[in-house]
Amino acid sequence: MKRKWVIGALVALFALPMMAAAEDVTLELLIHQNQALVDYINAFNPKFEAKYPGIKVNTSVVKADELATSTQTRLTANDVDVIDMFGFAQGIQPYMKKADKPNWQSLIEAGLLLDLSGQSFLKYYDTPTIKDAGSFNGKVYEVNTGRYAFTGVFYNKDLFAKYKVKVPTTWKELVAACDTFKKAGIPAITCGGKDGWPILVAGYGILLSAYPDQAALVKGLWDGSIKWNDAKSLDMWQKMQVLARDLIEPGASGIGSDGAPGRFASGAAAMLAAGSWDASNIEAAKPNFKFGYFPMPGSDNAANNKFIAGKYDVGWVVNAKTEHKDAALKWLAFFSDPGNYQAYVTALGIIPTQPTAKLDTTIGKEIAPYLSTFRLGYELLWVAPKGAGQWAQPNAAFFKPYNQFDDAKKLADQAQADLAAGLKAVQ
């Protein structure tokens, strides 16, 4: 009898923890640094864990420009289950000779992303999104959760009213508005210049005004019908120089992209050149702050400034080799549940990709007039020819004070020469 008790106790001692271990799953989630996204996920995961008590979610956060590198290293180490990946972009077009395939395509072809085709939660999302931002060769690999606009400018409504400045619809009006604020001792436009890419993105609005059809621009650059130093492009470079040198506040190169929304919300600058993803961060920094968002008026013709471009942003992919496939799919299904998804859209201020969801927030109302003509931005379409030089891209941050150029014509010629070198090399 005593022996049985001992055996029973030993079995309990060893078997129970093993059974518990078999049930407990830790789902590894990788996301990029967008404070609103981080806050939402941190609030969402406990709800998921409450619904599925055997599953814990561990979230890692990396800077946006390090997401691709982290994705690769963590997939290689096989220590991640669900990954936030920007919507599929930079696909190779037939006219792009000898171009390298984008990273997401390499991941799929290496068998690293799980085929999500047929999963029931896909029915909640609109078909064009599933097709354009997450499919390859007829199979679905990513659930894209929304779009952001990035060619607009946030503005402080109170400051605009106080100084009687109207929302600018042309380049001249924008420059005049900035002059008004600078004369009043208020920095005109702030920007998270420390990370480099926010200044690049700020210039994309000017690019969009010059070339509203971004896909045609990319094709034109490849076939030589558009040049970076032709008259229209030169005008674009000149405006980018003015933006970098005169309109963005001095010292913006020290402000991180995650600090810029707070600075803007504090009233330290009249405008913030940033993507609509920062709307939630502005609201979080100062809940009752009154702000608006207008397309960067890069042209003197207001008709060319009525567009907004952007990108498919947060999307979920699953590691094909995950040992927690069931838990990962449960997480995606719970996330995609229309009730949860609506909360997500509201929290992030993201343009929804589920037709039933509504972006009924400040930023939603601000960008609503432009959604019917919303288009993918240049950086989502452009693939540089191999051998193109380092200056062959439209980047306002190439100008002083952020880089070495102080002559728009010189940079335009350099950009075209660098592009032409690549085009010639791949012929």
Binding site: Q72, F88, S106, W197, G251, G254, I255
Partner: protein
Amino acid sequence: MRQGYLYRFGSRGSKFIPYLLLAPGLIFYLVFSLGPSVATAGYSFTDASGLVGSKANWIGLDNYKEFLFMGANVRDNLEITLRTLLFSVIVTVVQTAFGLLAALLLDMRLKLSNFFRTLFFLPVILGATIIGLMWTLFLYPLGGPAQQLLGLFGLRSEFLGGPPSTVFYWIIWIQIWANMGITMIIFLGGLQTVPNELREAARIDGANGWQVFRNVTFPLITPSFNTNVLLEIIGSLQAWQLFLVIKGPTNGLNVLGIWVYALAFGRQSNNPTQAAMRQGYGAAASMVLFVIVLIIGLTSQRLLARRERRILG
């Protein structure tokens, strides 16, 4: 003859003991150092993306042709190489000079010598990330301490956010600041091997301080000098961490170390998109860097060894 003090590993099983003792270090070296180096050389002839499970096709010298000769790469990569060499020369010269000066001052055993020795060495134990963060805060262009100092003279600067020609020299300074402690410690070790009697004899013969240093101390610390110069040349040619932490890949600022990283991980433009990762191509770039380091390192070593033989016999 000191034969009596030697243990002979010749009998039976004991002759394998030296090999057994060497084995862990050797295996560690083969697996974590030589192995990856050889693999990198192999990768440089493929179109590998670096993804597990992706096919790596043999493409011969295509990566090298593209890196060295294709389109504008010739100009860009030459510019990056020259900048790397400039970085290396300035860092080596200034760091050696500062390290030697600090070691000489500390060797005088003045008051607070130990405090300053610790202070100068402190940055060495900080990681690149912490160093980058510290300097970023110090040089914050919107009212950071350095900006406030400039403000006293009615000046302002973008500091680390400014043109690459400015940022480059800031990174040189930070690299020197971060590593000078090691140079100083190696020189201090060398100075402590210089017999005091020689210096005293020189002084008795009428030599002034500079003459004692030039004709007695400096020649006798030649081994430390050579070690420092070689370490600094190799270290600065391979520098990339501070460039990454402080600025990331940036046109007009890149050196070969960070350029290899940027090419391999699709980070050429500092743009958070989905550019292709080309680890085969990055491996080819790193082989070019390796050859440059090898040529310069071996040449320097040879020249320094010759100088050492000439001075010390």
